[in-house]
């Protein structure tokens, strides 16, 4: 099992979701996060006081999948989120030790889908 974490541009969320549905990945968790990459965010000014290195708003997706679904999921996220310019985001793939469906107490691969 894999846990796929993706950080994407907020406005790309709908397109990524559409791509994921196409490859039959329907279970995702989304949260709003702040962060910045190499560009170090943006400058902001409040009553003349300049603040640099501010964080930009991003969206973080968490998707748990079985091994055979991992590559499809990654490709779908790329397809939905890629523009080719800086700030498109990152995808992290982690090994997932266990997964439990609370309602049925099923475990492992069974519980993921």
């Amino acid at each position: 099992m894999r846990l796929i974490i993706a950080i994407i541009q907020p406005y790309k969320l709908e397109e990524v979701k559409e791509e994921l549905y196409k490859v039959d990945v329907n279970l995702i968790t989304v949260s709003e996060v702040l962060g910045h990459g190499r560009q170090k965010g943006v400058a902001e000014v409040y009553r003349g006081a300049k603040e640099t290195g501010n964080l930009l708003r991003k969206v973080r997706l968490e998707i748990a999948v079985n091994e055979d679904f991992a590559e499809k999921t990654i490709k779908a996220i790329i397809k939905g989120a890629k523009t080719g310019s800086t700030g498109d985001g990152k995808i992290f793939v982690l090994d997932l030790k266990e997964c439990v469906r609370i309602r049925t107490e099923e475990r492992g691969s069974q519980a993921i889908g």
């Binding site: 969320l13 943006v42 902001e44 000014v45 708003r57 310019s85």
Partner: protein, 409 residues
Amino acid sequence: MINTGDTAWVLMSSALVLLMTPGLAFFYGGMVRRKNMLSILMQCFIIMCVLSVHWVLLGYSLSFAPSNGFWGGLRWLGLRGVGFEPYTDYAATIPHQAFMIFQGMFAVITPALIIGAFAERMKFSAFLIFTLLWATFVYDPLCHWVWGSGGWLRTMGALDFAGGTVVHINAGIAALVTALVIGRRKNLDHNAPAPHNLPFIVLGTGLLWFGWFGFNAGSALAANGLAVNAFVVTNTAAAAAGLSWALIEWFHNGKPTMFGVASGAVAGLVAITPAAGFVSVVPAVIIGLLVSVFCFIAVSIIKPKLGYDDSLDAFGVHCVGGIWGALATGLFASKAVNAAGADGLFFGNPKQFLIQLIAVLVTIGFTSVVTFIIYKVVDIFIGVRVNEKEEMMGLDLTQHHERAYTVLE
């Protein structure tokens, strides 16, 4: 002869109308995405600053100085000769400057209404220049035609009590033109933006409804029965329209919404504006009930079908509602309400309906052509639209280096 009661009411009304612009800022601000909230507030507030100054220096003279019919000219530049004695052709019982400042508040809010059309994608610098040119070459001449001493639509007998043509059709048609030429927002098909703060929309609607009593009842320019009539029909039409929009949604979509009631109330206020000093209360109910039908069709059915991105429905509510109000004035106006007005079609005078129709068509024709030219001129010199990256990041950060809300403290 100055009347203290009249003067007090007109000054109070001026303050009420001023409050409508911050009200509009919240009404529109609630509808945009979080990343553009401040850009809307900023555009509304900077209009209050810029056009208040423009009005006393130039705008009032262009709009209201007596003329040959087209433009007020420069006689009253910098309020020269506009003092504390009444100018009887406009208002016989209040100081001339009281009339001037009351009208100034209308000149402020009208261009602010257009913001709804190009929200979330116009450069701030371009917005400022566009607004100044639009006030000078669209609002001021049209205002003169309809309300100015010697203005040709006024001479023809067009009835516009508080600004159906001058304010709402004018701003609404300018909105449609700018929405068409600036183009749709990016990623609209994948990501139809939901309003970021509905309570702000309701707050804005409340402030607009409250301020509108100054707008309409103040347009009597006296504390008298006519002002009372305008006050009563304004409240009635807003209420009927809010109710009607909710019912339409209930039947059409299964549930009435808060956003719908707010939109309906504003549409009702728009529609009653030209009629407020000429119609009685039963026509006000009809005007209110029907305006929501027309505006609902415009924003929920026609707009998606045609695909133009009038982001916050400045055209769909203000132009459509304004046209209905101007035509309804030609139907329901009655000399029993206002002896200085005229009878409408239902009171045996079909000619009035025709005059109203001409005023509507003239406004649409004039405003759309001049607005288009102004937009193109600004676009050639500095470019009107922000680039894709700025639009994606939001106007708050890219145009003002501020953001409305923090996520982390």
